[in-house]
Symmetry: C2
Subunit: 184 residues, 2 copies
DNA sequence: ATGAAATATGCAACTATTTGCATATACTGT
DNA sequence: ACAGTATATGCAAATAGTTGCATATTTCAT
């Protein structure tokens, strides 16, 4: 159900097309929720049938037609009701750690390559996060209240990525040693 | 598919019943992969049909009968093949951050309560992790190699929980201020 | 010129996961 | 005595998510 409420939160910020919501899931909200365009279009249809959102057809020259969705008062109420429910504990599905756990049955070199690749992604993500922090969240306590809340979701991301990078500095030397030992 | 390989890794360590594997998913492997007993029993059946595992019936007095599963050579090969595939990037589904992102539309007091509750869980988890580290992973470079790999999955967990707790120290004062302001 | 990426939406099939139920015995705590 | 927890496995229904495909135009890069 959480996808539904992620979409409602996005539409509560501003009216948008399915295509635009999909892009939002690749950016800000994407850090804590991911969804494909197929999922989003299908969910928007269901939500429209339930009266949580409504849309207007917009015809465009030189581009495909689109549907601009906006949240209804019923949608806002449903979102408010959901926001005060207890949060479900986050499930973690981390196949890198699974492969590491399997240890010597796999290849230390392969694990090392993967850790280095993901490290690079995390380094870039951290730079992006810091750039966003600089650009949008300076003097945070003077920003509008909604921004202040969003700022703390960014801070969560920064903490997470930094801790992952700190861990990688521990595991990389170990994997280098194992990968080296295997070829000798 | 990853559930399948999580089970194979577990059975490669030692033969086990579905019930015992379920308990493992609540402990060590549970940090990076979760699965219900329904999922595990169903998957074991499929894996048995495919010849990746085999089982023997064990009749017990005073307890229900059980099936002891063990990995086959075919299962070991399938696992080895999977271990050298690229890892899929982890998906994060964090409804706490989603509710935080929604900000003033929800209740700061409710968010604060939830953060404090999860913080308590994380404090306890960190204690558990540290206890495991002390008991099983002292003088890590003198331990058997498979233990050394597992140690780094534990280290990942420790880093993660510590970073979450550090973040909570940032967000709690903010939410306390917001919750206080709302009642005045 | 030709291919790739962006814009824009959607169906169908499959895989993964959750939720609810069902069964049966024994042990432990109140 | 009675309720709850542990042991042990499983089916069925529903929801959630992935993968592959389909369509149609424009703009940008090689």
């Amino acid at each position: 159900m959480a996808l539904r409420y992620a979409i409602l939160i996005s539409l509560h910020e501003e009216a948008a097309t399915g295509y635009e919501i999909t892009k939002k899931f690749d950016q800000g909200m994407g850090f804590f929720w991911q969804a494909s365009h197929q999922q989003i279009y299908l969910e928007l249809k269901k939500m429209s049938d339930l009266g949580l959102v409504e849309f207007q057809h917009i015809e465009q020259d030189s581009k495909p037609d689109k549907k601009l969705y906006q949240i209804t008062s019923q949608g806002i109420q449903a979102l408010k009701d959901w926001l005060i429910q207890p949060v479900k504990t986050q499930t973690i599905k981390d196949s890198l750690l699974m492969k590491l756990y399997a240890g010597p049955l796999g290849s230390a070199q392969h694990l090392l390559d993967e850790v280095l690749r993901i490290k690079q992604e995390h380094v870039e993500l951290l730079e992006t996060f810091h750039a966003i922090e600089q650009e949008w969240f300076q003097n945070i306590d003077q920003q509008p209240l909604p921004y202040q809340y969003i700022y703390y979701t960014l801070r969560n991301g920064i903490h997470y990525v930094q801790s992952w990078l700190a861990w990688s500095e521990e595991v990389i030397p170990f994997l280098e040693k194992q990968a080296g030992a295997a070829t000798r």
